[in-house]
Amino acid sequence: MTLSKRVFPVAKICVKNNLPPHLLLSLGLLTGAFLIMWPCYWERDDTLFFFLTFLPLTGILLLTPLFLPEQDRDTLDVIRMRATPLALIFSVRAVCGILFLLALPAGALLVLSLLHCEISSGLWSEAVSCSLFLGGLGALCYALWENLPAAYLVPVLYFILCNMTGRERMKEWGLEAFCIAPNGQDYIPGLRPALLVGGLLLLLAAILLRCRRKRNG
């Protein structure tokens, strides 16, 4: 069987069955954020604050429940019996999640530009880096503990501690990754690319860990 014949059915099932609830939640979150904040004629810093407050959360919603279908033992048994390797199934699922994760900030940017907001360059990539990192963190926690509430809790806590409790008080814990400096710059230069790479590595680690466990278990 060719690779494409193995990949497409997995992707189809993922988009049809696995992703919709999480995607709906992400869309609900963004719609709520837009309705409450109603961005209109915003300046660069306001757009940046809005974007980096709400968009990273979509990563948690889309990527953390990466292994949710296999939580059901029967589903796992069926998947294990098939010829398609587990790693491929998880990777395809992760790629599907990432594609939506790339699309959501792009859509949000489009809406913001239609509402005449100033948009700084690199905003999309910043949002993607942050959401990928948080999602990767959640996925790894899920792979480690198989406990979805706990897996959600870690990236949520990380985000809250970084973003909302103030840089001055959190820097001694190294939790200033999501703090936004007044001029829109990172407090730690080069941190955003590191978050992107870190997010991908976390996802990779989560998939490998999960495959190893499921093969043995």
């Binding site: 939640l25 306001d46 509430p149 809790l153 008080r169």
Partner: protein, 426 residues
């Protein structure tokens, strides 16, 4: 059964994460409310400054509010807080024109002149609060920037009405609402004011009460959502382990089952907070050695202030989990928490009444303000406790229906769908 639940919960990942995050948060905030620098000391006559207090002087308020509105008008960038979130509003030309009309009525300067001159105004002195790294706040006093002053003979009542109109034009949620206008002006505290505050802290709070209040103000922020994660994890445990059917057929009542699990989650959530409160009691006793302090203050405040929030957080997580068999409750709790947190940002020096999930009193002083609002706080806490208990009752009811096969749970729904498919295939 309760001890079994307690033991399982105590060794679960969500509880360990809850305890760890409370500890991190406590460690990061404690020097803001309990340290040598935060010790309440008697003010001495002749001190350079005794701090600031919101003014009640209409003249100062009018000038301060007008300065702010003039500056925002010139920049066409108005600060508003719809749902508590900071949102900068930019008005279109017709609305700016209306605002110029309002400014004209407020200042007595013709609208055309305001519109023509506003582009050249330069605001170097703003009205604002500056927060330093140690958390202390200082503020720039309202000054006449030389741009606009209240019109001759303008009464405070008319001023309030016009400012309310400006608030409506901006979509609401601004500090120009009549009840928030005092935020634009500050008076310098006198020695007598500072002494009265100190005496209130000593006699009403017996020092520890003031610190305990601030402890609760901080800890409630995390206690409003962390317990829900523990509760949802515990509620989903049977489903995860495929033990639901085994437990459901047992003779134990649904109410007892729900209460046991809920009670264990609430107790586990409160244990780290009570331990931290105990540590702070000892630290307070050492800080105020030789003074008369209330050794039970932390315990009383923690149980009265934080416990109802924990009860509600757990119950909301529980009822959503019973309803949907998914962690959907977490989304509901986090959304509510986010809105409430942002709303509370505007009431840092005292927000207790109504439907406030996380009451705020982000200052050591103000024992008299707290005492004056105690009835509101009590009503609020009792309301949340009652709602929490009602939600637990509802959860028990849903569980009972699920056990009888009458409730359409996610599992039942999936089973019916797959049975339907099987039948169609046959």
């Amino acid at each position: 059964m309760f001890w079994k639940e307690l033991k399982k919960g105590a060794f679960s990942i969500p509880f360990l994460l809850l305890a760890l995050s409370l500890l991190i948060f406590y460690q990061s905030q404690m020097d803001l409310y309990l340290s040598e620098g935060k010790k309440i000391t008697e003010p001495q006559p002749g001190q350079e400054s005794y701090g600031l207090v919101h003014s009640r002087n209409p003249e100062l308020i009018m000038q301060g509010a007008l300065n702010s509105l003039t500056q925002e008008f010139a920049e066409n960038r108005y600060v508003t807080y719809p749902w508590g979130f900071l949102r900068n509003v930019r008005l279109g030309e017709p609305e700016q024109d209306k605002m110029a009309e309002l400014l004209s009525q407020l200042s007595g300067v013709p609208k055309e002149k305001i519109l023509a001159n506003s582009k050249n105004w330069n605001f170097e002195v703003g009205v604002g609060v500056i927060m330093s790294s140690d958390g202390t706040m200082t503020t720039a006093e309202p000054q006449n920037t030389g741009k606009l002053s209240p019109a001759e003979g303008l009464s405070f009542e008319t001023f309030q009405e016009l400012m309310n109109e400006a608030d409506r034009l901006l979509g609401g949620g601004t500090d120009y609402q009549a009840e928030r206008l005092s935020h634009f002006a500050f008076d310098v505290k006198t020695y007598e004011d500072a002494l009265a505050e100190y005496e209130a802290a000593r006699d009403i709070d017996r020092f520890t009460g003031a610190h305990a209040r601030l402890f609760c103000d901080y800890m409630t922020i995390f206690c409003a959502f962390l317990p829900a994660f523990l509760m949802v994890s515990e509620a989903l445990r049977d489903r995860r382990a495929k033990m639901q059917d085994l437990i459901w057929v047992r003779r134990v009542s649904s109410l007892r089952l729900t209460l046991t699990r809920y009670g264990a989650a609430v107790l586990l959530s409160m244990v780290p907070v009570l331990l931290l409160a105990g540590i702070d009691t000892v630290r307070s006793a050492l800080l105020y050695a030789g003074e008369q302090i209330d050794l039970l203050a932390y315990c009383k405040y923690t149980l009265g202030w934080i416990l109802p929030t924990v009860l509600f957080s757990c119950s909301l997580g529980l009822v959503f989990t019973e309803l949907t068999d998914t962690p959907m409750g977490l989304i509901a709790v986090l959304a509510l928490w986010f809105v409430d947190l942002n709303r509370g940002m505007r009431e840092m020096d005292g927000g207790y009444g109504g439907f406030v999930l996380m009451p705020r009193h982000n200052t050591l002083m103000g024992a008299d303000v707290f005492q004056g609002n105690f009835g509101d706080l009590l009503a609020n806490r009792l309301l949340y406790t009652a709602i929490a208990l009602a939600l637990v009752g509802l959860s028990a009811l849903i569980l009972e229906q699920k056990r009888k096969g009458r409730w359409m749970s996610l599992d039942a729904f999936k089973t019916r769908i797959s049975r339907g498919k099987d039948l169609r295939e046959e």
